[in-house]
Each structure stands twice: as C-alpha cells, then as structure tokens.
Amino acid sequence: MTLILDILTTAAILFVIATGLLTIFGVLKIINFAHGAWLTIGAYCAVAVGQLGWSPWLAFPVAFVVGAVLGGLTERFIVRPLYARPLDAILATWGLGIVVGQLITLGFGRDVQFTAPLLPGTADILGTSYSIYRLFALGAAIVIGLGFSWLMEGTRLGLSARAVIMNEALAHVLGLDTRRIRWVTFMIGCGLAGLAGVLLTPLTSVDPNMGLAWLVGSFMLVMVAGQSFAALALACLLLGGAQVLVSTFLSPILGGITVAVLAAIILRISPKGFSRV
C-alpha cells in the first residue's frame, strides 16, 4: 500500500512538472531547459517564506506568482528575441538555468535547506500508516493537474494555446494573438514548476541544483509523450512507478536514472513513444 501511494505521489508530481514543460514545448516549440531552475525557485520560495516567519501555506501562491512573473520576464527578454532561432533559444534557457542556480547559491548558500513540515504526522490507510503530507501532495498534484486540464480544454485561452500547438501558421492568419499566447503559456508553465517545487520541499532536500534531476526526468517524459497530455499522464505513472520500485528495491541512485534510461529504451523501440495514446 505504501508503495502504491509512493508511486502515485511521484507520478503526480512528475506530471505537474512535465505538463508545464510539455505545454511550453507545444506552444513555443522550444524545450525550456530552465524549467528545473523554476522548480528550485519554487522550493526556495518555501524556504524564504519559512525564514520570514510567514505561514508555510503562503509558499504555494508565492511560488506560483514568483515563478510566473520571472517566467514572463524570461519569455519577454530572453526567449522572444530568439524566437526565430530556436536552437539559440534552447541554449539560452540552459544558460539561464545555470545562472539561476548560481544566484540562488549566492543568496542562500550552497547548503541543503530544510523547511518546517507542513503537515506532520501519519494517517492510517487500509492498515498502513502513511505520511499525511504525502497524501496532501498527491491530492494537490491531482487538483493542479485537473485544474490545468480544465484550463486547456475548458477555456478560450486553452483553446487558443491548443490551436497554436496544432497549427501555428493557421492560428496566425486567423488573427490569434500568438505572441501573447506564447507569453502566457510560458508564465503558467513556469508557475506550475514553482508550485511543484513547493510541493517537493518537505519530501526532498532543498539545494541549488535540486531541479536538475527533475528537469532531466520530465524532459524524457515529454519526449516519450509527444504532444498528448493523456500520454504524458500514462508515462508519468509507468516511468515514475518504475523509479519508485527501483529506488525501493535496488538503490535510490539507480532509481534516479530510471526514468531517463527507460525513456531512452522506449524511444529506441518506438520512436513515437506513447504519443498515440
């Protein structure tokens, strides 16, 4: 039972991170290699909120807003000028990720940080006791995932974003404001990464490079999923599940590379990955 809950929690958090990456990839046609840095920013928002003595719950809105605002500035001043040169744009996001990591080191030091537990204690579920916070993280990730699906499927902004993903040239000649859609998408994607960072803080240690492993994992998931959110959810569940199993039964270090290795194998066997799901 603990194992199942662990798998679900890991998959749900992976999904929150990877949906942002996938949406940015779909709309802007670039992989945002700074995405991991936004996860770190989110986590340090939680640390900062703790140091300021605010309620730890405030970390969620703070991280979303900080992530989205910094994302908006990044899109406007770094990605947009390079839009005609996608490779340079991707390199620029990679460099930005490194800069963000250094800035955080400057501000908070290299050491691992800890935050106050949000929800201490355990709950009994079908006979096993399980951390209440992990249950909350699972629920929160599912709520965020559902909220995001609603945004994409149920709102005009989501429809416009999907139109740009499917056929940007057509969206442009129909008069959609493709520039604004790219901007808002980048902001929301970065905000989601920030949220995921806060969700993670009580579960893992917070250090300036914590985002990197998650970036690599979610990048591979996006490659496997193609442009489909359903495929992404499935990939998170399967590969995230495999990661938990390997970490639990073999070694946590192997677990860390499970997603990347499995994704590479899947892409080798079926270049389209799960995109037809």
Partner: protein, 240 residues
C-alpha cells in the same frame, strides 16, 4: 477630385507589390485594384504566386516593395490580427482547418472572444445548415466538400467586408461548388461584401465574378471584365 471619387470606390489596391520567401521574389511588382462590392477572380496556373499574393495582402508575408491600401488606408506591413479586426476575412488553401478540433471550436477561433459566438454561428448555419447538427464532430473527419464549406463558414463568422478566398473549388463536385457560389452571392447581396477569389476553375470563377485578372510569374499578365470573351482569353493563359 475625380481621382478622389474613384479612390472612394476602391476597396483594396496593390501598387507595385513585391514579396516572396527569403531572397526569392515570387511576386514582382503586382498592381491591382479591387472595387467596393465586386467579386474579383484572380486566375493563374500552379505556382504562379496566387497564394503568396493573398498572404501578402493579409500580412502573413511581408511585402519587400510596393504599397497595399485597404479602404483608403495603407496596410502594408500590418499584422493579420489587425487586418482581420479591420474587416478582412480569409479562407486559406493549405492546411486550412484544425483537424483535431471540433467544428464548433474551429468556428469559435475565428472570433476574438465568445461574446458574439451564438449570433455568428446562427448566421453561418443560414448558409450551411449541416454545421448546426455536427458541432462536436472533428473537422478532420468531415468529407472534403464539408471541410470546404466549413472553411467558408469560418471566414464569414466575422462578417468581413473583404473576403480573400484561395481555391475553394479545388477537388469539389459541381453541386458543392454551386452551394458555395450561392453562399458567396448571398453574402454580397445582403452585406455588400467585396470578394477576391483566387481560382483555377474557370466556370465557377466567371459564374460569379465581375472582373478577372491572370497572374503569371509574379505579375498581372492580363485582366478584364467577365464578358463574353473572358473565357477564351483566360483559357489561353491557363493552357500550358
């Protein structure tokens, strides 16, 4: 004075427009006047630059020389978004629909917001009633003819004052062509819409157009009114 009066009746004018892709010029100094309320057929063989011309008018491709005026104001270099807001409608030729979106969402994307969606939908159902019963169907699963009607319907959603239509009759059987011709005639009759029709189907084009021009290697090669000799004159240009 006389010139000013004449200007007032010109809906769209191109003056020495040159444009293309990268370093290659496809249009080489195209000059053309489309009058208020007329249906104008632009003919020409494959690859002569007809689509490039429409995309240049709409601002999807930038003119490297020349001027484009719409309703008396210069629009050279304007963005599609601004021109659509100013009353231009476009029915594109290549990949014209979001295949994986429903009919309703395809139509919805023509409008900048959902406030006027119900009334705009009602309007286009008037031309193509089948759309009303199939709103949830994905555009990609419609038949070829139904897709063409959806493309026209979408272009009509914004009640454009100038319609740019790119080879809508391509691959269609006569009954569907007739329905589209009727919709365009009705649109002009009721709202005075000016239509620039890019076509290769002579019978369809001359059946509804007032004037025509032939585009050849990026310039206007011949032009005239849709009179008795139009058919044979255009045919001469379209033959290889």
């Amino acid at each position: 004075m006389a010139e000013a009066l004449q200007d007032a009746t010109v809906k769209l004018s191109l003056d020495g427009v040159t444009s293309g892709y990268g370093a290659i010029d496809v249009l080489r100094g195209v000059s053309l006047d489309i009058r208020e309320g007329e249906i104008f057929a632009l003919m020409g063989k494959n690859g002569m630059g007809k689509t490039t011309l429409l995309k240049t008018i709409l601002g999807a491709i930038r003119a490297s020389a020349g001027r484009i005026r719409y309703e008396g104001a210069e629009i050279t270099g304007a963005e599609p978004r601004a021109l659509i807001a100013a009353g231009i409608g476009y029915a594109p030729q290549d990949q014209p629909l979001f295949q994986d979106l429903s009919i309703r969402d395809n139509l919805r994307l023509a409008l900048p917001g959902d406030a006027h969606l119900p009334s705009a939908l009602e309007r286009v159902y008037g031309h193509f009633p089948f759309l009303a019963d199939r709103l949830a169907q994905k555009a990609g699963t419609l038949s070829g003819g139904e897709q063409k009607m959806l493309i026209i319907a979408r272009a009509l959603m914004t009640e454009p004052r100038l319609l740019l239509i790119d080879e809508i009759s391509e691959g269609l059987q006569p009954t569907v062509i007739a329905r589209i011709a009727e919709a365009l005639r009705e649109e002009r009759r009721s709202r005075g819409t000016t239509i620039l029709l890019v076509e290769q189907n002579l019978d369809f084009a001359l059946g509804i157009a007032d004037r025509w021009a032939v585009l050849k290697l990026g310039t206007i090669d011949d032009a005239g009114p849709a009179g008795a000799d139009a058919h044979s004159r255009i045919l001469r240009h379209l033959q290889i």
